[in-house]
């Protein structure tokens, strides 16, 4: 009985309250994309770390544990293996971009399936889920990078990037590369169910062939050209040579990285254009 009494007036107040809130002017499609991306970004932020006990701390702990472990293992080898750079710094500069490359690709690959329920709002498109996850991962990557730099400084390493602009630029280029690759993987995975098994297989050995834990210079010269087909090698070596003073890697070129990224991005966008209906319907 009490509930019924309270329900009536609240209804009316509610309706009065709502009237001014809604905007009547139609939004442009860009504004819709912006609003949706913002909404999805917050939703990703809530669910990305929300289920873990330490929440947001995992964004930091995850690379920190790996870097600590690898620094301990490879640090025993002394400085010689890393082109003169101290082990933790060398591994941070290589492993951090790599892990965020992997994160972006796997997050984008699962973006459509993870948001399937939300496509019942016509404003939400697969593309906005890609953008939201891309922005989130890129920003988390930069923040983790910043915190790790501070941490390394605390321990007395000269961790400030030598050429911050180059590091940032190549990092962004690498993120766009990952963005395109993630979209391509997502589309192939959705169109061909079996593809996901092979894509997982493809990603596994990448860490060992992408110069994450060793410099390109440590590869014998006659085999280097095999490694140089891999755009990740270019990205990681460029980031390292911008980060660590005195680290040089003469064989990598940013034009190659840029060219591959551009081609892959074009390919990703065209395949998205051709198949975005099937992404929602499936």
């Amino acid at each position: 009985m009490r509930a019924r009494l309270s329900a009536g007036p609240f209804c009316d107040i509610g309706l009065l309250m709502l009237k001014p809130v809604l905007n009547q002017t139609p939004r442009s499609s860009f504004q819709v994309l912006r609003d949706v991306t913002f909404g999805l970004l917050i939703r990703e932020l809530k669910t990305r770390f929300g289920s873990y006990r330490l929440g947001y701390a995992w964004a930091l702990l995850d690379p920190l544990l790996m870097i600590g472990l690898f620094s301990a293992i490879f640090g025993m080898r002394g400085h010689s293996g890393f082109g003169g750079a101290p082990a933790p710094l060398f591994i941070t500069a290589g492993y951090l971009p790599f892990i965020f490359f992997k994160n972006v690709v796997s997050k984008l690959q699962s973006a459509v399936n993870a948001n399937k329920g939300l496509f019942c709002y016509r404003q939400v498109t697969p593309f906005s889920t890609f953008i939201a996850r891309f922005i989130l991962e890129t920003i988390v990557g930069m923040m983790v990078g910043g915190i790790l730099i501070l941490g390394l400084l605390w321990f007395g390493f000269d961790a400030i990037p030598n050429d911050p602009l180059q590091v940032l630029l190549i990092y962004l280029l690498l993120m766009i590369f990952s963005f395109s690759l993630g979209i391509v993987f997502c589309i192939t995975g959705n169109l061909v169910n079996e593809a996901e098994k092979f894509l997982g297989l493809l990603m596994m050995p990448l860490m060992f062939i992408s110069c994450v834990m060793y410099p390109l210079a440590s590869i014998p010269a006659q085999y280097q050209h095999w490694f140089l087909w891999n755009p990740l090698v270019h990205a990681l070596e460029l980031i390292r040579s911008g980060w660590i003073a005195g680290y040089v890697s003469p064989n990598v070129s940013w034009t190659y990285l840029f060219g591959v990224t551009l081609i892959l991005l074009t390919f990703a966008m065209s395949s998205y254009r051709l198949s975005h209906r099937r992404l929602i319907a499936s």
Binding site: A3, A7, R27, I42, R43, L118, C120, Q123, R277, I280
Partner: protein
């Protein structure tokens, strides 16, 4: 007003294309309440999804010239790991509402789920879930509401509350509904569309549509 221009929609099956609509051109007026009839599997829900823009036609174009809701009383569309409040906020944001506070409070009051509003949706009972999703859809002013078997929410009292607020909305908005309940259709709609053989037959009077449908 929703305009369908030469729209075809099919599903690929083992036995070839299963057409739901074939070259349909029609204009649905903004100020009429429309009931969609058809036998099971004729594609009524797909038609509703096409109208709402959740699904896209294989050929042709669907243009909406007013604010059209998503299909109401549907249980999807929420992220199970987020709380009721966060989900409400999300729906507000994608609809371009900046000040979400008022709507959040309104949804909390209307849905009568109390503190569960602050808990993840996946823990809701099915009754709470449908009350919540009805409340969210009522929080926005659309010009056309799309509904798929609506008004079956909660207990008798809550149901009455839903009907009341919905009738209030109807003063400024119209309704396109799919139902198998002829009594409900007669009450709510004044125009009928019969979906059969991948084509739409429009009846200016819902009673005519129901008569034809019952003689199918």
């Amino acid at each position: 007003m929703i305009v369908l221009d030469n729209v075809s929609k099919y599903y690929p099956t083992k036995f070839g294309r299963n057409y739901v609509l074939r070259d349909v051109s029609i204009t649905l007026p903004r100020d009429r309440n429309i009931g969609i009839l058809g036998v099971n599997g004729a594609g009524k829900s797909t038609l509703l999804r096409l109208l709402g823009g959740m699904d896209m036609p294989n050929k042709g174009k669907v243009t909406r010239h007013c604010r059209v809701s998503w299909p109401l009383a549907l249980n999807g569309g929420f992220q199970g790991s987020m709380t009721g409040r966060e989900n409400t906020r999300f729906v507000c944001r994608i609809h371009g509402v900046r000040d979400t506070q008022a709507i959040e409070e309104w949804v909390k009051e209307f849905s009568e789920i109390g503190q569960h509003f602050e808990l993840p949706i996946k823990g809701y009972s099915s009754g709470m879930r449908s009350k919540f999703s009805f409340a969210v859809s009522m929080a926005f002013d659309f010009e056309i509401y799309l509904t798929d078997e609506i008004m079956s929410v909660g207990d008798a009292r809550f149901k009455q509350k839903c009907i009341d607020i919905f009738n209030q909305k109807r003063e400024t908005a119209s309704l396109i509904m799919v139902s198998h309940d002829m009594k409900n259709l007669r009450q709510q709609c004044d125009m009928g569309i019969l979906l059969r053989n991948s084509a739409l037959e429009v009846f200016d009077n819902i009673d005519d549509a129901i008569r034809i449908y019952q003689n199918l």
